[in-house]
């Protein structure tokens, strides 16, 4: 490890820890959110340093981007009547300094034990060689895509299911299923709207590109789906209300199609004597691409729906309050 690289890694490491602590002890929620988003972006730099571009893309887009948007969006409700984040340790603790010391020491000790365990970890060897050997039979050329959509496609399928479950769960939290048409039109802004007009088609194109790229290079359904969601969110911010104008039938199928099709494909070759999630080798490539296209659509739509529902949750309540 060369010196400048070591310096960069050290700096990133320090920054990560500082930002993480900052995100937890900042005095206002707004600062917490900002620190957390910066943390997510710094983390994607760390992924890049660790030769994990797929993860970097996913983290920057979902971990920092989407969740950051949701956090900032919820600030509207949380900071009503003061943005006091109340200190990390309760105000009523009599000896704040003492408890702070104890907690810091405890955290440090825990981290030390965990760090020791990592440092003493025997070399398991991993599955790199095995992945590489099986790559020609997987239908794709990029190892991460091969793992996600062929070797461990069962996990990936379940994970797309988690997104559907999370959408249902958010419906439960909001108290109704579906999206309400807002009573008044959105406040449109010429600058933001023209930006959205310019960016949205470009982003759709980028999503397609990432999807196609996933076959051989870093990229793939998740990253593409998130870019698609970003396009959706920008359009939503520009006041387009795409989701609200979709029919129930359309958004439900949109949310479910990735999961449903993946399942259908997983069982469709079983009458031919193949196993669950097993594809004929010659067709694996094209089939994976189709799965990825539909998964991208579903992921993009689901994440956009997260945001739209969130936005509606706050807005409808504040409207009720002012009435």
């Amino acid at each position: 490890m060369s010196l400048p690289a070591g310096l960069l890694d050290g700096l990133l490491a320090l920054l990560l820890v500082i930002l993480a602590v900052r995100a937890l002890i900042a005095p206002t929620l707004y600062q917490c959110a900002v620190a957390f988003i910066s943390f997510g972006l710094t983390l994607s730099l760390a992924w890049a340093r660790l030769a994990a571009p797929d993860v970097a893309l996913a983290e920057a887009a979902i971990g920092a981007g989407l969740l950051g948007v949701l956090l900032i969006n919820s600030l509207r409700d949380f900071s009503r009547g003061g943005d006091d984040a109340s200190a990390i340790f309760g105000k009523d603790l009599p000896t704040a300094l003492f408890s702070r010391t104890v907690i810091s020491c405890g955290t440090l000790a825990f981290a030390a034990v965990l760090g020791m365990a990592m440092f003493h970890m025997p070399e398991g060897g991993g599955l790199t060689a095995l992945t590489e050997a099986s790559l020609p039979h997987s239908g794709v050329e990029h190892p991460v895509t091969a793992v996600l959509l062929n070797y461990r496609s069962y996990d990936t399928w379940l994970e797309i299911g988690v997104l559907v479950v999370a959408m249902l769960a958010i419906f439960c939290a909001g108290g109704f299923e579906g999206f309400r048409r807002p009573e008044q039109g959105p406040d449109s802004d010429p600058v933001i709207e023209s930006l959205a007009r310019l960016l949205a088609p470009l982003m759709v194109m980028v999503a397609g590109y990432l999807l196609w790229l996933g076959k051989a290079y870093p990229g793939g359904a998740f990253q593409a789906g998130v870019v698609l969601a970003a396009a959706g969110i920008i359009l939503q911010l520009a006041g387009w209300q795409i989701i609200e104008n979709l029919s129930t039938w359309a958004w439900k199928w949109g949310l479910g199609i990735g999961f449903f099709f993946f399942l259908a494909l997983a069982v469709s070759f079983m009458p031919l004597g193949l196993g669950f999630f097993e594809y004929p080798e010659a067709w694996a490539g094209p089939l994976i691409l189709v799965v990825e296209v539909l998964a991208t659509l579903s992921i993009g739509l689901t994440l956009t729906c997260f945001f739209v529902y969130f936005n509606g949750m706050g807005a409808s309540e504040s409207r009720r309050r002012t009435r």
Binding site: L127, T131, L263, L274, E278
Partner: protein
Amino acid sequence: MSALWQADNLPVWLVVWPTFGAIVLFLLPARWRGMTGVSFALANGVLALVTVFFVMEVGVLRQEIGGWAPPLGIALALDGLSALFILMTAVVGGVVSVYAKIYFTQVVVDSARSSLFWPLWLFLWAGLHGLYLANDLFNLYVVIEVIGIAAVALAVLSGKTRAMIAGLRYLIAAVAGSLAYLMGVALLYGSTGVLDIDLMAERLEPGLTTRVAIALMLGGLLVKTAVFPLHFWLPPAHSSAEPPVSAILSALVLKGTFFVILRLWTELFGVSLTFMAGQMVGVLGACAVVWGSFQALRQERLKLVVAHSSVAQIGYLFLLFPLITVPATAVAGGFEWAPLAWSGAVYQVLAHGFAKAAFFLAIGVLVMATGNDHKASMLNMVGRLPMTTFAIGLAGVSLIGLPPSGGFLAKWMLLSAIISSGQWWWVPFVLVGSLMTAGYVFMILRLAFAPSQHEAELKSVPRGLQVCALLLAVGAILIAFPAEWVIDLLEGTSTFGEVVRAGAPVNSGEVGP
């Protein structure tokens, strides 16, 4: 090679069918969901029966997904233990589904909200099947998360603020727990380079990393199983949910993570466990028995009594671990108590599952009739809602462990195992726990038989709901009878009746400098 309907594909259908149901129910409009949901649930029951007969005939079944053998691919494993859990899920789940259908169509007005129950419940069911079949540590994480998110979503279904707060607490505990589990998985993957449980068991060596990993995984799973003192999220979450949801959460969801702990403890953790580790988990269980029962005695609201009682009953399950974890120096052979301890714990899972679900469903009926679940509303219930009171009584008998009931068999087997293992110090906890359980159950029943002067008019409750509660309560008693059959089924589990030789290096030749 396996054709579509061939029996090898049974594990696949166990996952595919409820998932298919979930997605269909999601796509269907709200008014169709109830009937369709019940049909899917009943079909699940048929599938579970097939599974059980299959396992009885054939034994352990492994299936590789995607045609990739582990360590690259994921394998599913179906054995006697999973079959038994699948059967319990099917029976409890089936009855609860029927109850939910009646409850949500006749009682709850807000159909937009309550119809969300069906897709979530089927997703949860699919997740449970995935959990019972999983043989891969990361796959376990994913299904645990499916179960966790779906369970919390169901818990907040009622939309009450109290439920929301309890749900958020539950969710944060669950997420933190599963991340701790995942941290342990990461450490183990780094040490062995595989995720498949069987392969990892071959490669895992004792050491600091393994120990920390096991501690993290256990800690995470113990939070999710609500073991004392990590049970803080359970009482509010279980007591504020809708009755069918409470039944699902306490009868099935808690048992899911217990299943994972049992499986990992016996199949994977053996390398690095010590006698003390077993004892410590046992102490947590014993404390849970006493503390949970004590809290249950103090509660004024029936749902809280029952929720705290779950903490105690879960505690009994953890008495299994000290019994099956013996020092490596102990004499070989002669661990005749191990099958008994195993059967006792599994019986406790079944008995608690049936009895607790029955309890929650019966209290649901009671709340519907009287409008609240305060203890006082039980007054003179025996004459007014005889069927429901009878259900509560039967479920209570099983919880206390009075013969003849599933709970009696569970506690009797656990006690015998404790005594023959020589770990007599667990005996008082079991007995005190039973006494205290008797305390709160009889307190409720005494009120039910007590006459009251001015009683409010009861609202009418659909008969179906009362029948559902009674069915489960009768089930809690009846499961005592096919005990031999259950133990036969359990013998189809690779680790059934085995003890973990704590501190014994598995590959003694290869370990060491």
